[in-house]
């Protein structure tokens, strides 16, 4: 260590003061860089080509070593001072953390002053130790700034939540220090109960589910649904009649036949009483109380006509009328000349309403099926 400085011996005296000045002007934050550099100097004496500051320090140290006892004394003092400083910081942690206190800054300044007397590794190590302590404290202080007045105690919050959820605290003994202890029993609807309370604080859109559908909510589904809806809305009108009728046919084949027969009976009774007067078609089929029943009636009457028990004609006012027909020949032979015609009748709700008004139909001629035992002129 001693050999290398010979070349620089000339500059030592002036270097001394310069390095002192240099050291004093260093801000405390850059000390971290300076200290290892110095240590490096001590460990690798061969690297003499540094800047003035470094070599000056080395020389100064040389001088100190040559100085002997007095220097060792001062170093011990410095070390003691550091240890005191560190101790005081550790003891007064809470005080330093307080946002009102400047004590941390004061401690840093004191350490800075101390450092100006540091020249060897041992003291520098203590200085580094102090720096770590101070910086941790600084970080905590910064964190404290977030929740300045009241820190949020998550433990208490957790306990309150459990209480709300209805926890059964079976075990009487409390292991309060060990927060991991599982004491108490949460009921199975605990989270659901909490959820119901939570919903009040959320503006969540309720999930939309079709009541009658068992669809899984995959992306393809909406598309199919949309397409189907498009089709049905278009053909709803025309489909209404056959759709209803089909259902009837499939499940109540016999009921239809019975119904047709009943109406036929009705018709024939009427014709017997008054053979020469044909019945207005509308008077017969229209049920002023129910559009659906009207449509059913038309359906049943169409069977009668198909089977040849009655005929539809247009009267002098061009309104359709029904009159009885001799069914003998027509029924068996479906191709008698000119006898068979096909007609498509369309009747919508609006039309039905108009007819009821125009023809002043107040009661249905064909009574609804479940009242067949009663008077035929009865209305619902």
């Amino acid at each position: 260590m001693s050999g290398s400085s010979s070349s620089d011996g000339v500059t030592s005296s002036s270097g001394n003061s310069r390095s002192e000045r240099g050291r004093a002007s260093l801000p405390s934050t850059s000390r971290n860089g300076a200290v290892p550099q110095r240590r490096l100097q001590e460990l690798s004496p061969g690297s003499a080509d540094r800047d003035m500051e470094e070599t000056g320090a080395e020389d100064e140290q040389q001088q100190r070593l040559e100085g002997g006892e007095g220097d060792e004394q001062s170093r011990r003092i410095i070390r003691n001072q550091y240890r005191e400083l560190i101790y005081s910081v550790q003891q007064n942690r809470e005080d330093m953390l307080s946002s009102k206190s400047n004590r941390l800054t004061e401690a840093l300044e004191e350490a800075n002053k101390l450092f100006s007397g540091v020249s060897s590794a041992r003291e520098a190590a203590l200085d580094a130790q102090f720096l770590v302590l101070a910086s941790n404290l600084g970080k905590e202080k910064a964190n404290e700034l977030h929740c300045e007045m009241t820190t949020f105690d998550s433990l208490v919050f957790a306990e309150d939540l459990l209480t709300f959820m209805g926890i059964n605290r079976i075990e009487a003994e409390e292991n309060d220090n060990d927060s991991e202890s599982i004491s108490g029993y949460l009921p199975s609807d605990a989270w659901h109960k909490l959820g119901e309370e939570t919903e009040k604080y959320f503006r969540r859109a309720p999930s939309f589910h079709y009541m009658l559908g068992s669809f899984k909510s995959d992306p393809p589904v909406p598309r199919q649904r949309i397409e189907r809806q498009k089709k049905t809305t278009g053909t709803e009108e025309k489909r209404a009649m056959p759709a209803q009728l089909k259902k009837m046919e499939e499940s109540h084949q016999e009921a239809t036949e019975k119904e047709v027969e009943r109406i036929l009976g009705l018709l024939q009774t009427h014709f017997q009483n008054d053979p020469s007067t044909p019945i207005s078609f509308f008077d017969l089929v229209i049920d002023p109380n129910s559009f659906a029943r009207t449509v059913e009636n038309i359906f049943h009457v169409s069977f009668i006509i198909r089977d040849g028990f009655a005929r539809i004609k247009l009267d002098d006012d061009k309104l359709p009328i029904i009159e009885p027909s001799e069914d003998n020949e027509e029924r068996e032979d479906g191709h008698s000349a000119g006898a068979r015609n096909q007609v498509v009748l369309s009747l919508n709700y609006k039309d039905w309403k108009e007819i009821v008004e125009t023809f002043e139909i107040t009661e249905p001629m064909i009574s609804p099926p479940y009242h067949s035992n009663e008077d035929e002129m009865e209305t619902d």
Binding site: E196, S207, R225
Partner: protein, 248 residues
């Protein structure tokens, strides 16, 4: 035209790689849209609006934000030129009929969510499913994050959940795979945002509120929840209260 037919033919459940077909932004200036509107009949437009409303309602069941690309591909299709008009009308319908609001959550990514504009009434839950319980878990996490300063490390979150009898490794009787629920489902729904903290080994993550959380609730509401649970006034936590007051 043929391009669109191809994507339709490949099945509606195709993943969103139909994006390239619709990468051109459909946001036309209002005047242009008005002109385009005249090219379609009112019935057609109404039909599309209804379809979009249905689509949004069903898509929202899982609470995953709805992408504009999906809307274009599956509903709007050839009516792209009046896209904005259809969306506006659908939004109005949702508001007037269902009391729901169509919110565009991210103007860059163009994703939508539905939120409610009317307060929830008591005893409404006719469906006994998991949604309510999951919401409870979410609220617990969101309140923890907020009260601790809007950003928490994953370790802290799971330690807190352990106190509520939730172990990330074990199967929970209500939630099942809780870890998956929190780190995947909640994130996908945009309720939570989990980002890795750089330069940590083993990697650590920080948990924050996601954009959906900010839209469906607010800091003030969460603070009220915490206050209610703890039997205190919201002003008890001064800094959180002040923050909640100034946010939105």
């Amino acid at each position: 035209m043929s391009q669109r037919k191809r994507s339709r033919g490949s099945g509606p459940s195709q993943a969103d790689d139909g994006d390239e077909d619709f990468s051109l932004s459909p946001t036309l200036p209002r005047s242009q849209v008005q002109r385009n509107l005249e090219r379609h009949s009112q019935d057609q437009v109404n039909q599309k609006v209804s379809e979009l409303v249905q689509f949004l309602l069903v898509k929202d069941q899982k609470k995953i934000p709805i992408k504009r690309a999906d809307i274009l591909k599956k509903v709007i299709r050839e009516y792209r030129d009046i896209y904005s008009e259809i969306v506006n009308q659908a939004g109005r319908t949702l508001q007037q009929v269902f009391g729901l609001q169509l919110v565009e959550m991210d103007t860059r990514q163009h994703i939508y969510i539905l939120t409610s504009t009317i307060p929830r009434t008591e005893g409404e839950n006719l469906r006994r499913d998991n949604q309510t319980a999951k919401l409870a878990l979410l609220m617990v996490i969101l309140s923890f994050i907020f009260m601790k300063g809007n950003s928490v490390k994953d370790g802290a979150v799971w330690e807190f959940l352990r106190r509520l009898r939730i172990q990330p490794g074990e199967r929970h009787e209500v939630f099942g795979d809780v870890k998956k629920l929190v780190t995947e489902e909640f994130v996908r729904q945009k309720y939570l945002e989990i980002t890795p903290i750089p330069l940590t080994d083993p990697p650590e993550f920080k948990y924050q509120w996601g954009p959906r959380a900010a839209k469906e609730t607010s800091k003030m509401e969460v603070l009220r929840f915490v206050a209610k649970m703890q039997g205190k006034d919201p002003t008890y936590w001064v800094s959180q209260y002040n923050e909640a007051k100034t946010t939105r």
